[in-house]
Amino acid sequence: MTDVVIECRDLTKQYGAFTAVDHLNLTVRKGEIFGLLGPNGAGKTTTILMLLGLTEPTSGSVRVLGLDPARQPLSVKARVGYLPDQVGFYDHLTARENLNYIAKLNGIREPEMSKRINEALDQVGLSNVADRRVKTFSRGMRQRLGVAEILIKQPQLIIMDEPTLALDPEAVREFLDLIRQLKASGITILLSSHLLQQVQAVCDRVGLFHQGRMVLEGTVSELAQRVLGGAYRIHVEAEGGDAVAAALRALPDVVKVSANGSQYNVEARADLRAEIARKVVEAGGKLLGLSVDTPSLDEVYARYFQKGAAYAARA
């Protein structure tokens, strides 16, 4: 059990009559990247604030690194790095001065402080602008400075709220690389986002939030399997007419085949590219192209809420 980093049991938060988080059960293990996904207002930020002890739960229990954030907030906050939604800085101070302040609040003293600050700036690639005022920074740079602020306290867990929001595609790519680096160094990461496409690439597991409840949890392909039925979408381009379509439909694990001229879209429960290639050739067709789509979370999400009523009824 020592490798459990976050554990929530029946966690509930109510603001008056409004239930922001409703009986949430969540377990995140050491070294994982877990994505809290869902639209705005689904309860992601509230959950994060409760994990940090910045808001008290109405009922239920939270354990972060085995500590109770409501009772031992200082210990929790000393071990957990938090990157808020659109993190702010003291714009009139330089990057280094901002980091200095955070280090001092964490009780880190010289000479350790300078060492950690330089390392953090190096790691996020801001060393060359360390003495420039934050006012002049681009959004991507600010986001990386936010990560540097987290790194100087050498956290065991990092929580990021909408980290890729408002970044341009290049900055998003760089930022996701940075997250992968952090994972490689053994840090557990919890991130929230409503931009599913961007984060599915880095998350080991995701939890989909809807109206304060976590409605789905698992790896991206598990979710795709469960919600989309077929987890793999295979594009086949082949000449050969109906014989090819029939051959494709006859394959085991194929859920659905839709044809459009010489283009076929196959939904399958497994990666069937090899079998498809063989069948097409056996059926006398000419195979011109074959590719597989990884299922996208956007699709999972959209499909889930199309079927939302049916799922709710089953739950």
Partner: protein, 328 residues
């Protein structure tokens, strides 16, 4: 007691509420001392100090002569048309300085989106709020002390005599009271910065309160006293009661407390604040100065009142801040 201690830990917060306090104080004070608005205000106060003290010293050199034992104190209180005395300016400028320091202290962090980040560090909210307040008070103390020293320096140059021990004690006590007078406005502005999300609203609210006490409270107190304690012509006791009530009401204003302290401390001949009946002056030698210790005693309640008001305002802000949601 033993029992209480055994169940307490489950409800207690871990660690000291003051963790990180000095980091906040150091950072905030550095911010204050380098901020443009602080420099503008300091320049303004400095200019007033120079203007009024220079005018006063010219007057003193021309008139008073060596017979006056309290030349240095006169530097603060002597007015030369069209300028009022320096203490008059202080009553206006110190609140302005304090409000300017604190009106965006909490909502500024909020709008800058730094609040949730700072509170996610291993400190309690206590440390952030108290740190900001102490930094403001420290800045105020530093600025006022510097101005005091400048005035004394100018006095030495212009008058050519050093201040006596008696005068030094009086000036120091007055400095202390001035700092706490600023503390009230600092705590008030900080309270508004917690209540209002817009710094401009908070600043306006604080300035409104300041204007209310500076301009209107005297009039309102007098009207209230007349309504609540009517004095028919010829009834001396009723008249005295009315005046006492009016005095009580005006003393609810920090401005009144401050100006009374200024009066008593910088003018040693003042023996009582409030009404003095002829019978109470029996056997007194008019115009003889009080010892500094007695003047301090005379203003002790004022000092207590100013400090208490500061603490009450800070406490209200503290409670509101503890309950505030961090998220937007």
């Amino acid at each position: 007691m033993q029992h209480a201690r055994s169940i307490a830990p489950a409800r207690q917060r871990e660690g000291s509420p003051w963790t990180g306090l000095w980091a906040v104080v150091a950072k905030e004070m550095a911010d204050y001392l380098t901020s443009a608005r602080m420099m503008i205000l300091e320049a303004l106060i400095l200019l007033t100090a120079f203007g009024t003290v220079y005018a006063a010293s010219q007057n003193l050199r021309a008139g008073a002569g060596a017979s006056d034992d309290f030349l240095f104190l006169r530097l603060f209180t002597t007015a030369r048309e069209p300028l009022p005395a320096f203490v008059g300016f202080l009553g206006l400028l110190v609140p302005l300085l304090a409000i300017a320091l604190a009106f965006d202290s909490i909502n500024g962090e909020f709008n800058q989106r730094t609040l949730s980040k700072v509170l996610a560090q291993p400190i309690y909210r206590d440390a952030l709020l108290l740190g900001k307040f102490l930094a403001g008070l420290g800045t105020l103390a530093l600025a006022l002390t510097a101005i005091w020293l400048l005035i004394i320096g100018m006095g030495l140059l212009q008058l050519g005599v050093p201040p006596s021990g008696e005068e030094t004690v009086r000036m120091l006590w007055f400095l202390l009271i001035t700092i706490f007078y600023g503390g009230i406005w600092l705590a008030l502005a900080m309270l508004f910065s917690i209540i209002f999300r817009q710094p401009a609203t908070a600043a306006l609210a604080a300035i409104a309160v300041w204007l209310f006490f500076t301009v209107f409270w005297g009039i309102i107190a007098s009207l209230l006293a007349r309504a609540l304690q009517p004095a028919p012509p010829g009834d001396t006791q009723a008249l005295i009661n009315q005046i006492q009530l009016e005095l009580l009401l005006t003393r609810l204003s920090p401005n009144t407390l401050f100006s009374e302290v200024a009066l008593a401390m910088l003018n040693p001949a003042v023996r009582a604040l409030g009404i003095v009946l002829p019978i109470q002056l029996h056997n007194a030698i008019p115009g003889t100065p009080l010892p500094a210790g007695q003047s301090i005693l005379l203003t002790w309640p004022h000092a207590t009142g100013l400090i208490a008001a500061t603490i009450v305002l800070f406490a209200i802000g503290y409670i509101l801040f503890q309950r505030q949601e961090v998220r937007a």
